[in-house]
């Protein structure tokens, strides 16, 4: 446990002493700020229109602002996740510091979990920046906080799964760019897999769509904590970290 924290602390540190964390946070804040502004503007216009139309329809902030925005974060996250995970192992391998970790009295799995945890925590900080926007909704409106909390939990789980896969990919190469590009490809693929369900209802299409990380987020964005979807993300995390530990092991036998 302690070792995991030692590694996680070191990783977080290196995110924040380099421009990486600040760059990601700034970009995310700007992009999400735009989404939020857009979404609230649309909501305002729509509610105004429904009032002018004479038949005022009760519009929920949760339904029309928070829910689509949470899904948007999930999609934007796909682009940020490779940039968070790409350096985790690739950089250690390039600098040779992996030898230090591998010859210290610390287990491989502690190194892996520590690094993954740091990546998830950086993503968590990213999410905090989006929470600032939502805080305004609570100031001027009256949304329900529970679906929002579950939505965030879902985002963390989703990112956890993708980051675990990113960690694995990063452990396969010395080159950060390769790790980043490959992770980005995988993230993108896991997103668009869902599209096949739009025109095809055969079993293969259902299986493909099942593997899309986005479909499993639907329940979370509605504020429903569905175990089936939570388990999907948890098994993704487990698989990613397990593959990483295999890859670290093979490094010893091959190098």
């Amino acid at each position: 446990m302690r070792n995991i924290w030692v590694i996680a602390q070191k990783e977080l540190n290196s995110y924040f002493v380099s421009p990486v964390a600040y760059l990601l946070l700034t970009m995310f804040a700007i992009i999400f700020g735009f989404f939020f502004w857009n979404s609230v503007g649309y909501f305002n216009a729509a509610s105004l229109q429904s009032q002018m139309g004479g038949q005022p329809m009760p519009m929920s902030v949760n339904e029309y602002v928070i829910r689509p925005l949470l899904s948007n974060i999930g999609v934007v996250g796909l682009f940020f996740i490779p940039m968070i995970s790409m350096r985790l192992f690739a950089e250690e391998k390039r600098l040779g510091t992996i030898e230090l970790l591998a010859t210290s009295p610390i287990r491989d799995i502690e190194v892996i979990v520590g690094k993954w945890l740091a990546a998830v925590m950086l993503y968590g900080v990213l999410l905090l920046f989006s929470a600032i926007n939502f805080a305004f909704l609570f100031r001027y409106g009256n949304p329900d906080w529970k679906p929002l909390a579950i939505g965030y939990l879902g985002l963390l789980l989703q990112a956890g799964g993708l980051l675990a896969i990113g960690t694995f990919i990063s452990s396969l190469t010395k080159n950060q760019i390769i790790a980043g590009a490959a992770t980005f490809g995988v993230c993108l693929l896991l997103w668009v897999l869902e599209w096949v369900s739009g025109y095809e209802t055969a079993t293969w299409a259902k299986v493909l769509a099942y593997f899309s990380v986005i479909t499993h987020y639907d329940s979370f964005s509605k504020g429903v904590l569905d175990t089936k979807d939570a388990i999907f993300y948890l098994s993704m995390i487990f698989l990613g970290l397990f593959l990483t530990s295999r890859s670290m092991e093979s490094l010893r036998w091959r190098s």
């Binding site: 070191k10 290196s14 600098l95 010859t103 009295p105 287990r107």
Partner: protein, 332 residues
């Protein structure tokens, strides 16, 4: 402290280490010598539990590298060929991090960081980013990292590679000062380094251990004959190198004269003596008395280099030593 038995490491196609066996006693400095690609790094990586052996066993302080890697890792300090430093960390921060990795914490760790920083002469750059340090400093930070948890065994892979001569000397002194408290294995392909720092030498070539001996014995083996380089200049114009060579060959105790280089009025010879004969004085006298100028006369690098070349199949192979016998007899 370290026992290696029939250690073998195979990669896909190559045999990197081929059944080597040796033993290192507590408190010794052992030089691990061999040409590039001889299998030094591989052996060290096996000892540090970075790589598993394909065959054979290695134990450090009584713990097997395969069976109890955690115990071995706790007792080993390792400096790989490139110091494993994070460029975005400050020296102090880095040493603290490594200390934590090795299981230290709190005040003990803080005190130890200060201590090793001073010992390795990096105390003055403690607050600097490692990425901004020179190669020499980085190497010393690497060394500080290796000794932070006061390990029983230190394994240093080419600790002086890439340093300037002054830094090399400093690093050697530092390593020597660490002996006694620690058992040290250092690898190198530089011979004088072994002569200056180590008590014991393991010579490895193409994955095989070709000699284990004390530095003293190896030097004695090499010192049997003397080899001298000299440059002769004709006093007025050209010099007849043939004549000079004949004259040199007649000097008492000379076994062989080789003409190395010849330009208009000067020639360079390499002269070898018979066993246990000192010929430099006689050579100088012979040249001067024959009316030539003696521009230069120096002992050519004979020391360990020759033994090394012989053992690693450089040019002439004379009598290959029975490895095991020497290894057992001289490891005290």
């Amino acid at each position: 402290m370290i026992t290696v038995q029939g250690l073998t490491k195979r990669y896909a196609r190559t045999l990197a280490v081929d059944h080597i066996s040796f033993e290192v006693k507590k408190g010794q400095i052992v030089g691990f010598l061999g040409p590039n690609g001889a299998g030094k790094t591989t052996t060290m990586r096996i000892l540090t539990c970075f790589l598993p052996p394909s065959e054979g066993t290695a134990t450090v302080a009584g713990f097997d590298v395969l069976e109890q890697p955690m115990e071995v890792k706790r007792r080993i300090g390792y400096l790989p060929e490139t110091p494993p430093v994070y460029h975005e960390m400050e020296v102090q921060e880095y040493l603290t991090f490594v200390g934590k990795l090795k299981g230290m914490s709190g005040a003990t760790l803080a005190a130890r960081v200060t201590e090793v920083a001073e010992r390795c002469a990096v105390a003055d750059v403690r607050a600097k980013l490692i990425g901004k340090l020179s190669k020499g400093y980085r190497q010393r930070v690497g060394l500080a990292q290796a000794i932070i948890h006061n390990p029983d065994v230190l394994i240093l892979d080419e600790p002086t590679a890439g340093l300037d001569p002054k830094q090399i000397n400093e690093t050697r002194d530092l390593i020597k000062s660490l002996a006694g408290d620690h058992t040290i294995i250092l690898s190198t392909h530089i011979l004088p380094e072994v002569e200056q720092t180590c008590e014991q030498v393991l010579i490895i070539n193409k994955g095989k251990l070709v000699a284990t001996d004390s530095v003293h014995n190896l030097q004695a083996r090499a010192r049997g004959a003397e080899s001298v380089l000299l440059e002769v200049e004709g006093r007025n114009g050209a010099v007849e190198s043939q004549i000079v060579q004949h004259r040199l060959e007649t000097v008492n105790g000379v076994s062989r004269v080789v003409l190395k280089d010849s330009r208009e009025n000067r020639s360079v010879f390499e002269v070898e003596s018979l066993k246990d004969r000192f010929i430099r004085g006689d050579l100088a006298r012979a040249i001067v008395e024959s009316g030539w100028n003696l521009n230069e006369l120096r002992a050519s690098a004979m020391s360990l280099e020759e033994v090394f070349l012989q053992l690693t199949g450089g040019e002439k192979v004379e009598e290959p030593e029975p490895v095991e016998a020497v290894a057992q007899g001289e490891s005290q």
